[in-house]
């Protein structure tokens, strides 16, 4: 047996750096990563097959549970697909409410992420502060929708609950104070020397690589590529609400942090605009039970990037085929590229950089019995 010059360090499926299980196998030479192999599928639940089994209404519940943090992006996408298949137009007020809720979700997801990245860098104080402020948004959600995490506010044909004037006041106040805090976080993230040392220049992704490897979302925008589904392919009310697409030139972990914090500022502005220009009227129309044959592709900008839902109907009450591609899967090739050649200590920060949501990533069903046997797998 020879003397191995590289150590294989497994990251996952259980690891404190990963909030959800995936298996990354790093080959490490000293303190530098030389190779990465990947195994996913640990939270595979069989959703794509599950869609085919039940009606479109039932599929709404499945779509929501693809991911906890970006559940609104998934339900927005799903309802868009089904509504287009059925030929249903939702009322304008519903579109605006969906937009407000979607942007609130972006706020909640990005602030969760800032906390996580701070924690990965060892900066626990920022982590605690950000999550404390995030509670305000969770409370707002709970008041409007009845749930802190899974909101179930989107339904086929519109939204389930309307915005009351009391909630609107609370929302405005909440946005004001959250904006103050976000400005503070932007300042901290840009000026705290130890944090900068851990994130600046770490995990570089050039714009050419980002485009070639089809990265999406803040990961792509942090490398300077100005692409955002809300601007490029507007859906719900995004064609009527002005906003800036935030990019950064540096393409490192710091850029990804700054892009997300600045996107939070943009979201606050968008929510205010939507509240100011909220159309009146009904919030829901009644959809038919059956969708005529057809196929629809819907794109949404989830907090993590471009989300694709592709649905096909065969004229019955159940979908023929439903496909979901979540942003984390699209970012995996770019992630593997950025991981080569970095220090072991940078791995969690880079992993966190794409904002991994592995439960979004593995959706397909395997209801099986695992043997629990794990082996080294080559790519």
């Amino acid at each position: 047996m020879g003397y191995a010059s590289t150590i294989k360090v497994p990251f996952g499926p259980q690891h404190p750096a990963l909030k959800e299980p995936e298996h990354f196998l790093f080959e490490v030479d000293g303190d530098t990563v030389v190779n990465v192999t990947l195994r996913i599928g640990y939270v595979h639940r069989g959703l794509e097959k599950g869609f085919e089994l039940e009606t479109y209404n039932h599929g709404l519940y499945l779509a929501e549970r693809v991911c906890g943090i970006c559940n609104i992006a998934h339900t927005v996408s799903y309802t868009q697909v089904v509504e287009e298949l059925m030929g249903v137009q939702i009322p304008p007020r519903a579109r605006y409410i969906r937009t407000i809720v979607a942007e609130l979700e972006r706020l909640q997801s990005h602030s969760l992420w800032v906390g996580i990245v701070a924690h990965e860098a060892g900066f626990d104080t920022l982590f605690m502060y950000v999550w404390r402020d995030r509670e305000a948004i969770m409370n707002l959600f709970e008041e409007l929708t009845g749930g802190r995490v899974l909101h179930a506010i989107n339904t086929l044909g519109g939204v389930r609950r309307d915005i009351t004037p009391e909630w609107e006041t609370k929302l405005r106040k909440g946005m004001d104070s959250f904006e103050e805090r976000t400005k503070d976080y932007l300042r901290i993230v840009n000026s705290e020397r130890t944090f900068l040392k851990r994130t600046s220049g770490v995990g570089l992704l050039s714009p050419q690589d980002a485009v070639k490897l089809c990265a999406v979302g803040p990961t792509l925008r942090a490398s300077g590529v100005k692409e955002d589904v809300r601007a490029d392919d507007p859906y719900i009310a995004y064609d009527e609400i002005p906003f800036n697409v935030v990019t950064s030139e540096s393409g490192d972990a710091l850029a990804r942090t700054v892009v997300r914090v600045e996107e939070m500022m943009e979201s606050i502005g968008m929510i205010r605009y939507a509240l100011d220009h909220m159309p009146s009227g009904t919030i829901k129309v009644r959809p038919p039970k059956i969708a005529p044959p057809g196929e629809v592709l819907s794109r949404a900008e989830a907090p993590r990037g471009e989300l694709i839902h592709f649905g096909r109907s065969n004229g019955s009450a159940k979908p023929e085929r439903y496909k979901i591609r979540s942003p984390t899967l699209a970012n995996i090739p770019a992630l593997c590229k950025t991981l080569i050649g970095v220090h072991v200590a940078d791995i969690p920060i880079i992993l966190a950089g794409i904002d991994p949501c592995f439960s979004c990533m593995d959706r397909m069903a395997i209801v099986d019995r695992r043997t629990g046997e794990k082996r080294e797998i080559e790519k």
């Binding site: 404190p16 060892g122 605690m128 220090h343």
Partner: protein
Amino acid sequence: MIVYDLFFLLVFPGILFLLCLAFFTEWVDRKFFARIQNRYGPLYTGPSGILQPLADFVKLLSKEDIVPRAADRALFTLVPIFYVTLPLTALFIMPIMGETGLIAFEGDLIFLLFVFGLMTIIIFLAGWSSMSRFSIIGGVRSALQMLSFEIPLGIVLIGPAIAAKSLSISGIVQWQSANAAWGLWLQPIGFVVLLTCLLAELELIPFDIPEADTEIVAGWRTEFSGRKLAMFRLGRDLEVVLCAALAASLFLGGAQPLWLIPPAVVFLVKTIAVVLLFSFIRSLFARFRIDQVIAGMWKYVLPIAIVQIVLIELGVGV
């Protein structure tokens, strides 16, 4: 008298007192750290959670003690014991009751440096004997970190010794009290460097790379559980007390009588103040990477320490 000696050794300022002090400082640290982060910290066990560290210790004692199959059994079992006894022994040379420690001799400062070095070797052996990827990396990082702060630490500890013309901690405390001067304002650079190096020794943020939980689980402590982990936590608290007492004795005057206040109380106040300083710094920063620590220590901290010594040689701060 034997009875007195036994009392001093075992109760005050001996083992029992030191253990209580260790738990107390852990509580202080956790509470302060939590408060800065807008959290409660320990709350329920005892008034304001003061019994929480003791509760944690007792709970850990009762947990299952798993030894990994590949681990070196002998080392694996011995390491936690050494980790507790080394700081405990070193604490005897600290002046607590009065201006002289329980055990004081010329050169006990050097003995302390030796203990610090031993502790790092113990940590490395802890990681090594666990035979787990994460532990080995953690142990190696710890050793690397020691390589970087050991020399500045030694240099800056000699500073007060030169000023006091004594290599005994008790001697330095007596000199500070005799001259009504504290090392703090005589050698402020030395104090800052000492704090930095002590943070690295204790593996506190920003230097807690060896046990960075988000990267390598718990570093060199990963595989320990049950009683062994309890020993590690206790040893860590004792080490904190040791380092705080060291900073307090060498630079803040240590256990001097202050009007009618007994020296022990003064010592306590000063030590806790240093512990609070550690906690405060801990909450402010993110964690450095090991190569940044080594580079920073050798490029910045070491030259600053040398500047301090040069200043002393030139007569400043004596």
